[in-house]
């Protein structure tokens, strides 16, 4: 270990997150490695190590001969200060080597608020933040993950973006990089080759041209790059790679357990939900395979908890079979099984009782909107009767802690919809009064609201976000009508939602704001300890950009959107139709009921959708 590091580590909080050396980490002999990849997560170790995508890509890339993939996370502020003081560049956990020793630096970006961390991590590594300032072939700096479905705000910083699932694409990219190194290709030559890989978006090959009013006139395609970059996905998800030997952190992380991935995609089609649109079509894994993967992972890690991951667990057809198979192993080994993402409409108390043998933790539901009209408008197929019935069963079963999540500012929302949230909470409270088996412990009903952020590649991508003042008015309206003792009301800040809305639907010019925020000290923006709204507002002003232009402006169908060169699978026409259905407060059937022909099936090369 670096001698300077030895002196620093005792001074910082939780030093174990900076040292590597965990069980199941992969160490390779540098002599036999010709491509070194730094898999970077632009947030702390505790968050990044909890991320299933990181575990999958780490495993997939390290399966390649001659390629060594290592992990890099953002240091917390105290560590960053010490590193900068001592002049220690950011290193990868496995080897302890600085990032400048690597051929490929790939960021996995799941949320926009991590953008400033990307710049900070590059800078901490002594690597120029802008693609144009990095002239050599290596290190090539790229990104993937959900946020890349609109690659434009970070276009100045990344050499390329991988759109969609990385399992195959990352391998192809690294093989190309190996060839480019051998053939002494220039960076420019490499990038134009990389653009030929399906799913690769090279920002320097797309040139945005703006109208006088600030909207996009067009995005020019240069040097024969594809007109449309289509998202990659794993067509045979059942048999695709799953990490049964994940790294076991030596210090506590956020999700410190085995995670099984049941399926990708979602049958529901909630109109606000980006994940529900950009991970289509639905692809499932066989329950027997999952049981085997679960047991193997538990044996290889020593974890005492296992959880199921998907966008809507209760929509996994063989859920009962899967849980029974896992419980056969878990119960005699005292391993806990937890089931997140259950829907209020087909919630099965039997299932919950089976998995929560000892303690009854809280139940969480996300009705998203207060009235049936608005729930229909957003295509959240949850009926009030179902939700209330579920709560009734839960109270009768001894649960006394219910959390309800809503969004304020959804398209077509009126004050009536806002107030209906408090009515719904009161109905739940009333149900507890009439149905609870044990009232001595009291009841806790928590209502949380966040401000709706319109996202790219959803039917609401053309929508205006309500402005901050209006959001705050709705919060106050709701708060004034939510005075019952057992009901706690929490609301999310308007500040971060506005910034998130700008970064989600921003164009390339927004990159200058991100850079300015970082230059004036911005980092770890998803942490309230670090986020500064004023810093962002100052940066917008300095860059001459208006955040409301991006967040609070309605777009027309014909407007050229910054992400229009990216095809996530669902056709824009379909999304526009869904938006119109919203304004009529009409439901679309879920994919299992009836295929709505969204267009994502075209990505499957003849494979089917398991909707």
């Amino acid at each position: 270990m670096d001698k300077r590091l030895l002196r620093i580590l005792p001074k910082v909080q939780k030093p174990a997150r900076y040292t590597g050396g965990e069980y199941n980490q992969i160490i390779k002999d540098k002599e036999n490695v010709d491509i070194r990849m730094a898999l970077c997560f632009p947030d702390t170790y505790e968050i990044g190590m909890s991320n299933l995508g990181m575990k999958i890509l780490y495993g997939v890339i390290n399966e390649m001969g001659g390629v060594w993939c290592e992990r890099v996370f953002a240091p917390w502020g105290d560590m960053e200060d010490e590193m900068r003081k001592a002049g220690i560049p950011l290193w990868a956990l496995e080897s302890g080597d600085p990032l400048t020793d690597f051929d490929a630096i790939g960021f996995s970006i799941g949320y926009e608020m991590a953008y400033t961390n990307v710049l900070n991590m590059l800078n901490l590594s002594g690597i120029p933040i802008k693609s144009a300032d990095r002239h050599e072939l290596t290190p090539i700096v790229f990104a993937g993950g959900t946020s890349c479905c609109n690659p434009e705000p970070m276009a100045d910083f990344f050499d390329l973006c991988v759109i969609g699932e990385g399992e195959d694409m990352d391998r192809e990219l690294l093989l190309l990089l190996r060839r480019a190194k051998k053939d002494n290709l220039s960076k420019r030559e490499f990038l134009s080759e990389a653009a030929k890989i399906d799913g690769v978006y090279v920002p320097s090959l797309y040139n945005p041209i703006y109208n006088a009013d600030g909207t996009l006139q067009k995005i020019e395609v240069l040097d024969g790059a594809p007109e449309l970059v289509t998202r990659r996905l794993v067509t045979d998800f059942d048999k695709s790679y799953f990490p049964v030997k994940p790294i076991v952190p030596s210090t506590e992380i956020v999700h410190d357990r085995v995670t099984l991935e049941l399926f990708r995609g979602c049958i529901r089609g909630c109109r606000f939900c980006q994940a529900g649109y950009i991970y289509r079509p639905v692809r499932s894994r066989d329950p027997d395979r999952l049981i085997k993967q679960g047991i193997e992972s538990l044996e290889n890690t020593g974890y005492q908890e296992i959880t199921l991951s998907s966008l809507s667990t209760s929509d996994y057809r063989p859920l009962n079979e899967l849980c029974d198979g896992l419980l056969d192993f878990c119960v005699p080994h005292s391993i806990g099984l937890s089931l997140p993402s259950l829907r209020a409409d087909n919630f099965s108390l039997d299932l919950m009782s089976k998995v929560q043998k000892v303690r009854k933790s809280g139940l969480t539901f996300a009705p998203e909107a207060g009235t049936q009209r608005l729930r229909d408008a957003i295509n959240k197929n949850v009926r009030e009767e179902d939700l209330l019935n579920t709560c009734k069963i839960a109270f009768e079963g001894g649960w006394n802690n219910i959390k309800l999540y809503f969004m304020l500012g959804l398209p077509t929302e009126t004050d009536e919809d806002v107030l209906a949230i408090s009515d719904l909470a009161k109905k739940v409270l009333f149900l507890w009064k009439s149905h609870a088996v044990n009232k001595s412990k009291g009841v806790h009903i928590t209502v949380s609201t966040s401000c709706f952020v319109p996202k790219p590649h959803t039917p609401f991508q053309w929508e205006a976000q309500v402005d901050m003042e209006e959001y705050r008015r709705r919060v106050t309206l709701l708060r004034d009508n939510m005075r019952a003792k057992s009901i706690t009301y929490n609301w999310h800040d308007a500040d971060t939602s506005l910034i998130e809305a700008v970064l989600s639907r921003g164009d390339r010019r927004v990159g200058s704001v991100i850079e300015e925020v970082w230059r004036t000290g911005g980092k770890l923006d998803s942490w309230s300890e670090y986020f500064s709204f004023q810093r962002w507002m100052d940066a917008f002003e300095k860059c001459g950009l208006d955040p409301e232009f991006y967040a609070c402006r309605e777009r027309s169908f014909d407007e050229v959107l910054p992400w229009s060169r990216v095809n996530m699978g669902v056709a824009p026409r379909f999304m526009w139709h869904e938006r119109e259905m919203c304004y009529k407060a009409e439901l679309s059937p879920d994919c299992r009921n009836k295929c709505t022909g969204c267009g994502a099936l075209s990505l499957m090369n003849g494979g089917c959708c398991d909707g």
């Binding site: 005792p10 030093p15 174990a16 050396g21 506590e252 290889n300 020593g302 005292s334």
Partner: protein
Amino acid sequence: MDNLRLRFSKTGRAVYISHLDLMRTMQRAFLRAGLQLKYSEGFNPHAQISFALPLSVGMASYCELMDFKLNDYISLAQIPLRLKKVLPEGISVLEVYEREQKFKNIKWLDVDGSFEYDERSASDILPELMDFFSRDSIVIQKKTKSGMGEADIAESIRSITFDEGDGRIRLKAIISAQDPTLNPELLVSALKQLSPQLAPDFAIFTRTQIYDSEMNVFR
């Protein structure tokens, strides 16, 4: 199987694993080894393991002890073989045996230390350091449960020697492990408080051996 004791070392990158994290790390390693630790009864069952002398973060050790109980019988020789394969980097099994004495009989501790000086010469400081620690009484301020208190650490130092090499000062000390506990870091605190000119810019310690009150090696 009750009354089992594991002796292990914790060095290298593993020295940054905190005491709490070590408990979790060990429990997981046992599960990976297919060894079922015995759990307590009750509402919130926990593995019945205990460590002899909690080790500060950053300090290495070649003499850590952990007591544990297993549900099933297994030959003693098998346990280290199985554990060896499943421990994180820096934690190594030294031996597993049936314990004969309780942790409360531990009294003394061997520590090796290294003092680094950035601006000052180690050889100039060496004699003064020796002088300092040969005092009969070294009274320092230290944090206690009820605020700040005074303690004479001299009586907790059974022996201490210094020598110089590679531009740093190496120390070997036998200090009190329990009743009272002397954290080796307090040797540096004492210098900072009483003779700041002798305090090193960086100090690092390693535990090498533990003893009972008669200076027999404790196992």
